[in-house]
Symmetry: none
Subunit: 232 residues, 4 copies
C-alpha cells in the first residue's frame, strides 16, 4: 500500500505539475488573445499575433484551441464571468429590480471606463458580444421574467429586454471609445422607461450613485489590462 502510494505519488506530482503548466499556458493564450482582440478587432486578429504576444510557439496554440475564434469565445466567457460576478457581488439584493438593473448597467460602464483594455475589447467584438442575456440568466436566473411577472417591468418578451440591453450598452461603449461624451444616466433612464418605469422614477434611479467594483489583482481583467496598458 505504501508502495502503491509511493509509486503513484511521483505520477501525481508530475501530473499536477503538468496540469499547472498546461493551465498557465492556457491562461497566457487567453490573456494574450484578449489584448490582441482589443488592439486589432475580431477580424484583424490572426493566430500569429496571439502566439507571439503569449510568447509560445504556433504549434502550442493547437494544443489548446482549434481556431482563433475559440480564443475569442474563451476570452469572452472568462471576462464575462469575472465581471458579472464582480458586479452582482456589489449589488444589494434587497433593492427593487429597476434599481438593481440600473446599478448593474452603470457598474458595467464604470468597469469598462476603468479598464481601457476591457472597453476596447468589448467595443470591438461587435456582434460577437457577450451574449449578455445568457450570462445574466446564469448569475441571476429568471431575473427579467420574475420582474415582469411581479409587475416591476411591463410585459414584453424576455429576450427583447436582454437584446436591447446588450446592443444598447455596446453602442454606448463604442461612443466612449470614439472619445465622445456620453450621458450614462440618460441611457439608463431610457432603458428603464423601455421597461415600463415612469419617467420621473427612471430619472431618479438613473441618477443614483454606484461604486465601481474592486477588481482583484489576480483577475484576468486586472492582469491583462495592466499588461495592455504597459504596451501602449
Amino acid at each position: 500500500m505504501t508502495e502503491e502510494i509511493r509509486q503513484t505519488e511521483p505520477v501525481d506530482y508530475r501530473t499536477r505539475i503538468g496540469q499547472e503548466r498546461r493551465q498557465r499556458t492556457y491562461d497566457r493564450l487567453v490573456e494574450a488573445g484578449t489584448m490582441v482582440f482589443a488592439d486589432r478587432g475580431v477580424n484583424g486578429t490572426v493566430i500569429d499575433h496571439v502566439v507571439r504576444r503569449a510568447g509560445v510557439s504556433r504549434g502550442t496554440f493547437y494544443n489548446y484551441f482549434d481556431t482563433i475564434d475559440d480564443v475569442l469565445v474563451a476570452a469572452k466567457r472568462a471576462l464575462a464571468r469575472e465581471i458579472v460576478s464582480l458586479i452582482f457581488e456589489a449589488i444589494d439584493e434587497d433593492l427593487p429590480p429597476a434599481e438593481r438593473l440600473a446599478y448593474g448597467v452603470k457598474a458595467f460602464v464604470e468597469l469598462a471606463r476603468a479598464h481601457p483594455l476591457f472597453l476596447e475589447f468589448t467595443a470591438r467584438i461587435g456582434r460577437h458580444a457577450y451574449g449578455f442575456g445568457q450570462v445574466l440568466d446564469e448569475v441571476a436566473p429568471c431575473f427579467v421574467r420574475d420582474s415582469i411577472m411581479a409587475g416591476d417591468f411591463c410585459p414584453m418578451p424576455e429576450e427583447m429586454v436582454t437584446d436591447l440591453l446588450e446592443v444598447g450598452t455596446l453602442a454606448l461603449l463604442r461612443r466612449i471609445v470614439a472619445g465622445e461624451d456620453v450621458d450614462v444616466p440618460a441611457f439608463v433612464a431610457a432603458i428603464l422607461r423601455m421597461l415600463g418605469v415612469a419617467q420621473e422614477e427612471a430619472t431618479r434611479i438613473a441618477a443614483l450613485p454606484v461604486v465601481c467594483p474592486v477588481v482583484p489583482s489576480e483577475a484576468l481583467l486586472a492582469q491583462s489590462n495592466a499588461a495592455w496598458i504597459k504596451s501602449h
Copy 2:
C-alpha cells in the same frame, strides 16, 4: 445646324452606349454584391464571389471598385435610399411623431420580411449597418430633435435615440432570420416607451396597422431579391 447635329450624333451615340454599358455592369456588381453579402456576411465575402455572381471578370471589378467594402457601401446606400424613400412616401406626414416613427419601423420590418434577401443582408452586415441616424436625418431632417423639443419625446441625446433604434431593429431582424417568432408591436412599444410615450399609448400606437410599401419591379430591392430567391 443640321450639320452640327450630324457631327455630334455619332459621338453622343457612342458615348451613350458606353455609359449605358458601364451603368449596367456597375448595377450587376452592386446587385451581385448585395446577394453575396446576404449569403456569406461581410467578412465571408471576397471579390471573387462577387465577380463570379455578377458574371464578369476579376479585372472588371477594379474598373468600378477598389475594395470589397466599397461594394458594401454602394449596396447599403442604394438599398437605404430606395427603402427609406419608399417608406417615407407611405407615411402620413400629418400624424404625430410617435405614430410616424412607429409606422416607419413596422414598415421597415415588413419590407424586410417580404424580401428575404434584404432581411439577410441587413441582419448580416451587423455593425456596418445603414447608419440609420444619418439616413433618417437625410430624409426627415431634425425629426428627433424637433419631436423632443415639441415635447412629443422626452429629453435625451439625439444619437442615443438613433443608436437604440438601429441596433434594436437589427437585433430584431437577426431573430427573424434565425426563424424565431418576434413580437414587432412589442418592440415598437418598447421603443416608444423609451422615447417617453406612456405605456397604454405606446401599446395602442404599436398596434396600428401598416401596409407594406409597394416596391417597383425595377428597383434594386426587387431585382436582387428575385434573383436571390431563384438561386436558393
Copy 3:
C-alpha cells in the same frame, strides 16, 4: 488632267490631314512617354500612365506601338538625335579632337542640368542608355578611330572609349540627380587622361568654357521639359 488633280486633291488633302493627325498623336505619345519615364523610371512605367498623360485611349496606343519599351526606344532616339545634333552644331570643327570631345561632354552635362526632365530621364533609363557610341558614330563617323590613328588619343579599342564615355557620364548624371556636387572638369580630365592626354593638358582642356546650346522651342526636349516642369 485638271480633273485628275481635282479628284486626287481632296484625297491628298484628307491623306495629309490624316497623316498630320497621326504624327501629332505619335508625338504626344512619345512626349508623354519621355515624361513618365523621367517620373517613374523604366520599370515603373506602364502603358496606362503614358496614355493618360498623352490624353489618348488605351486602344490608340496599340495603333502606334506594340510595347511600352518601344516608346522608350522612340523617346531615346528622338532625344539623342536632337541633343547630339545640337551639340555638334555648337562644336568648332577646327579644334583638336580632345577639345571637341571635352566640349561635347561638358555641353551634354550643361544641357542636362538646364533640362531637369532630360536629366531625370537619362539618369533613370540606366543600362538602356542611349547607345552613345552608335549615336556618336552617326553624327561624327569614325571620330574616335581617326583620332586614335592620328595619335591624338592613345591606342585602345574604339568601343571601350564609347563605353567608358557613356557609363561614366551616366554615373555623373546620377550623382547630379541625387543632389550631389559633381566636379565636371575633373570628370572630363579623367576621360581625357584615359584617352592618353597628358595630365596638365587634360586639366587645361577640361577647364575651357562651354556655352550651353540653344534649344529651339519646338524641339521635343523643350516641349516635354516645359510640360514636365509645369506638372511638378
Copy 4:
C-alpha cells in the same frame, strides 16, 4: 553537472537542428536567386521563379525575405564578400597601389570568366551592381584616398574613381557575356591612365600576369556556378 548537460543537450540539439535547417533553406534560396537573376535579369525575376528553383514553397520564401529585391541584395552581398576576400588574399600588399589595383581588376575579370554564372549575374544586375566603392572601402579602407594623397594617383574625387571602376568593369563584362573579344589589359591600362599613371607604365602594369584565385568548393560562388552549369 552531468544532469545539467543531460537537460540542456536535447534543447541544444533541437535548436541546432532547427538552425541548421533554417540556414540550409536560406542558402538554397540565395543560391537559387543568384541563378535566376543570372538567367532572367533583375526585372525579369519573380518570387515564383526563385522558390521553384529552390524547391521550396511560396510561403517559405516569406519566412526569409520580404521582397525579391532582398534576395538580390543578399546574393550580391554574399558573392561580393566571397569574391573580394578571395581577391584580396591573392594580392601582394607590398606592391605599389597601381599594381594592386590592376591585379584586383584582372583577377575579378578572370574569376568572372571562370564562373559563367557569376559573369551573367554581374553583367545583368546592371545599375544595381555591387557598390564597388563601398565594398572596396570595406576591405581596403581609404585605399583610393591614400593613394591620391601619396601621389600615386592624380587628384580627383574618390567616388569618381570607384564609379568609373565599377561601371567600366560592368560594361566590360557585358561585352564578354555578349561573346565579344575584350582586351582586358587595354581596359586596365585605360583605368590606370585615368588615375594618372603614365602611358608606358600603365601598359606595363596592365600586362603583368595574374593567377585566378582558387575558389573553395563549398563557396556560394562554386556551388551555384556548378548547379547553374548543370542546368544549361
